[in-house]
């Protein structure tokens, strides 16, 4: 046991909560070091002095002062008129500002959701202005062109590539000749 370990155990020694083995070790160290036994005795006296410090009593007006404050607190307790008047008006449990904000967010969600609903057959979808104008530009052009016979076969460059039949026919004529 060293000095630090000894000091750590002084309170436990004085309160009698050390094990027998530890107690013997403690006492052996104490008897070998005279200042250690002085330190233990000094601590014993400090504890005793703390226990016997003069006790204070509350002032004679303590109880009446407290009861006055209690009466004031009673008036302000929940359920009293004062408290109820202080509670701000709410809308579905929210203050007006929060209710307004939540309402605006809900409306925004509904509008966006409505925009995203796909077209149903036989049902006019209220599409966006851009989508509407695109349809109007494409459809009438093709129908009028068909009516006038202006619509030509697709260009060979743009048409899908097929095998050139006439080339084979020419070659076959040459072979027959």
């Amino acid at each position: 046991m060293d000095r630090y370990q000894f000091e750590d155990l002084i309170s436990e020694y004085l309160e009698g909560s050390l094990s027998q083995l530890r107690r013997t070790e403690f006492e052996e160290f104490m008897s070998a070091n005279n200042d250690c036994s002085l330190q233990v005795e000094s601590m014993r006296q400090i504890i005793s002095s703390l226990n016997s410090l003069p006790k204070l009593n509350t002032s004679p007006t303590f109880m009446s002062d407290l009861m006055r404050r209690v009466e004031t607190a009673k008036i302000a307790e929940p359920g009293s008129d004062i408290i109820e008047k202080k509670i701000p008006a709410t809308l579905f449990g929210f203050t007006p500002a929060y209710a307004g904000m939540i309402g605006a967010v809900l409306i925004a969600i509904i509008v966006v959701a409505f925009e995203l609903i796909p077209n149903q057959p036989g049902q006019i979808n209220p599409p966006s202005v851009i989508a509407k104008s695109e349809q109007q530009q494409v459809l009438p052009t093709t129908t009028t062109q068909l009516a006038k016979g202006e619509l030509e076969a697709p260009d060979s460059t743009t048409a899908p590539k097929t095998l050139p039949d006439h080339d084979f026919q020419d070659q076959m004529i040459l072979v027959n000749d």
């Binding site: 601590m43 400090i46 703390l50 016997s52 410090l53 509350t58 407290l66």
Partner: protein, 190 residues
């Protein structure tokens, strides 16, 4: 078991929670002096200590439904008083800093340490009490709390552990270290 009271503290608070205000008065009478001594050793000012006790007992009235019968009533009330005492000390510290900064060098007063009772002697009487009180004020708050609760209020280690909300082993260690520091402080004050 050997309690001189008909009702335990826990029974009284239960009655008070059901609306029996007489139970509140009984609790106040049981605890007002105990709490005053605790608060006084903490803040070192009798008037401020009484304010702390008033606030604690008022809180007992207004926050009675916060008490749950899982802890001892004494633990709960000492926790409230301890917190209020610490708040009072913090307030005073701020106030003191402001006052000192406003004072001139000549105006500052210093309390000279006592020179009579020596460490190792049996200290009793007013002067020794004052010296011990002075030494307690030199302890850090976490040491001051546990030493007051243990050696002045004579609470058990378990109760102190619940009040300061630290493990039992830590409480024991803090009390021992607080006593060692008190010993040193008293030696320095000699």
């Amino acid at each position: 078991m050997n309690s001189p009271y008909i009702y335990t503290d826990e029974e009284l608070i239960a009655r008070f929670q059901k609306g029996d205000e007489q139970a509140y008065v009984e609790l106040v009478n049981r605890y007002r002096d105990r709490l005053l001594n605790f608060a006084y050793r903490f803040v070192n000012d009798e008037e401020q200590a009484e304010d702390v006790v008033q606030d604690t007992l008022l809180k007992l009235f207004t926050h009675r439904h916060y008490y749950r019968n899982i802890a001892k009533f004494s633990t709960w009330i000492y926790t409230i008083a301890g917190n209020l005492a610490k708040t009072e000390l913090r307030k005073r510290k701020r106030h003191k800093v402001t006052n000192l900064s406003q004072m001139g060098r000549q105006e500052q007063e210093y309390e000279l340490p006592a020179t009579e009772a020596e460490t190792g002697q049996k200290v009793d009487g007013h002067y020794a009490g004052k010296q011990i009180q002075q030494a307690i004020q030199m302890l850090p708050l976490h040491f001051r709390t546990v030493i007051i609760l243990r050696d002045i209020q004579e609470l058990s280690y378990e109760e102190i552990s619940n009040i300061v909300d630290v493990p039992l082993g830590t409480v024991k260690s803090r009390i021992n270290r607080a006593r060692l520091q008190l010993q040193k402080a008293l030696k320095d004050l000699k």
